[in-house]
Amino acid sequence: MMGKSRTQALLLSLPLIAFIGITFVAPLGSMVLRSFYDPLVAEILPKTVAALGEWDGGALPPEGVYALLAEELRQARADRTIGRLATRLNRQTPGLRSVVSGTGRRLARQGQPPWAEALPRMNKAWGEPEVWHAIAQAGRRVTPTYYLNALDLRMDADSGVVQQPEAKRVYRALFVKTIGVALAITLLCLGIGYPLAWFIAHSPPRRGRLLLVLVLLPFWTSLLVRTTSWIVLLQQQGVLNNLLIWAGVVADDQRLTLMHNMIGTFVAMTHVLLPFMVLPLYSVMSGIPPVQMQAASSLGAKWPRAFRRVYLPQSMPGVGAGCLLVFILAMGYYITPALVGGQSGQLISNFIAYHMQTSLNWGLAAALGSILFVAVLLLFLLYDRVLGLDRMRLGS
């Protein structure tokens, strides 16, 4: 009997489990796979890569390897895959793009053995061991390159891990900045949301319901609409600046830059995420009977003491839920910073989008995404451990 209802319950959930598995978990898996698995070089230069596997890595590879490379580069040019190869190798060792594509062009017109002399004549880089090390490293299908790049590191010719040159160090600072911004926004939301939730929860029921709508309406309004509103309000010719000029606070030629910088990101993200703080707080606070505070005060406790000893501990589950939710959401925010953040207000998600759409460095996008994913997953597990996902509620 027990076994039967177990199977029945599982069978009911199975269609959605399969659906989420295929439409959501598999895509995440394919992203994680892409962050460390890159067969491109091994597929375009299979024989060269195999031959380099037997190279001792000493001075320069033997004539046979040169010949294979010349043959495969010619083929890659004919197949029109040489551009992708050049881009990939350039990521391994900057400067290789022009070496590879230039050599490809020359090979199409000229060249004959011995290749160990012909190739260095076409581009003297082929006479240096660095290029060959780079091809050997990039030829491995499983590659740490993208994770190294995502942490501002790279591999040098001897397969040692070194720091990127100073000018190219971006991502470690960016992760720190993203965490910092998410933390600051969480605290801002808590600072505004706690008194607000208290006020709503302990208003007379009818007024409380009405006030709750003022929180729920922004929550239900499209994110793009809210972001547009902030553009309208914050831009230099915008409503807020006009208001300040009208009030005589700033002069017309000194309009404040409130957007396309960190201020814009902060204001708009706090606005977007505030309901996620207020709603869990409200649902916990509306379960705390106000009589308790009255009892504490009638026993002689002053307000701060009564609050600290009686009210605050009981509201902590709401604080935990709200903070974790806002922090998780803030860490992965994309749209709002992309539209109002300008250059300085960009977070990790914006760089993932940049590598997905503009630089087309999908391996790096996948590595950055995987790191963010693990961070969120840990927070998600923390949420489950502390508050229980199966008790999650939406709205009121």
Partner: protein
């Protein structure tokens, strides 16, 4: 309570909360009058402030309602949203019934899995979906968009229906069975009507999620599948035209309607309880 209500602290709290409500609502309300701007600006003109009727116009609404671009975007939004909602609601409701059974094994893990699309940052989900769906040739298709939006909407249905199931008296099922109803008949005649507020609000959440989604659309949709949020994105990024304010006003209206519907459902399910 009343002892603090009267004090200066209470006034400070009121002023603070008043400002907080202003912060929440003002950005949304400001859009509405500006969408009637006769000039192509994102700000109030002198004429608007002096209530000059010539400073107001419906030209942006004309553009949104009659323009081919916005009309096809609205149609796409509807196609993707409705299909994804139906898919998410069906699968989510059935799954929630399984999750609510006391005999359900590995409940915590499975719940976490089914809710994960709601928590994983959308940019990560969109990147993964782009990689995976392009390997199946599903990018730039309606199918791809519908499947991904259904995955993003299903957690909402699972949560609301699980919550509704918590208040469900399972003896009703036994009663129905003892009266000779089979499981399918019992589901449609007994269980679903009682659960319907939960199911419908889950569906509303799922639809709202699809209506609000732009990142997956950015990565996956072709020109033919552009939705309203995608057009708004283009409107903000590429050519700032107050037409997006008119579109935004419509979206605010939809939010109000969704909120009202949920409020009514809430009342109905509250009054249905003993």
């Amino acid at each position: 309570m009343s002892a603090w209500r009267a004090g200066p602290g209470a006034w400070a709290l009121r002023v603070f909360c008043g400002l907080a409500f202003l912060f929440l609502m003002a950005p949304i309300l400001i859009i509405i009058p500006l969408s009637f701007n006769a000039e192509p600006y994102f700000t109030f003109t002198r004429g608007m402030l002096t209530l000059d009727p010539d400073a107001y116009s419906l030209r942006w609404y004309e553009q949104v309602l009659l323009g081919e671009r916005w009309r096809s975007a609205a149609l796409n939004t509807l196609i993707v949203g409705v299909s994804a909602t139906l898919l998410a609601t069906t699968l989510g409701t059935v799954a929630a019934m399984g999750l609510s059974s006391p005999a359900m094994p590995w409940r915590r893990t499975i719940t976490a899995l089914l809710i994960s699309p709601m928590i994983v940052p959308i940019i990560i989900a969109a990147a993964g979906m782009f990689f995976f769906y392009s390997s199946l040739n599903l990018t730039q298709t309606y199918t791809g968009l519908i499947l991904s939006h259904a995955a993003l909407g299903a957690p909402f249905v699972v949560i609301t229906v699980t919550a509704a199931m918590a208040g469900f008296n399972s003896e009703l099922l036994l009663a129905a069975a003892s009266l000779g109803a089979g499981p399918v008949r019992t589901f449609f005649k007994v269980q679903l009507p009682i659960l319907s507020p939960g199911v419908i609000s889950g569906a509303l959440f799922a639809f709202a999620a699809s209506l609000d989604e732009v990142v997956v659309v950015l990565f996956m949709a072709g020109l033919e599948q552009r939705t309203i949020p995608r057009e708004m994105w283009a409107g903000i990024r590429e050519e700032i035209s107050p037409a997006i304010l008119a579109a935004a006003t419509f979206l605010i209206l939809i939010a109000v309607l969704l909120l009202l519907a949920l409020e009514l459902l809430q009342r109905r399910s509250d009054s249905g309880r003993p």
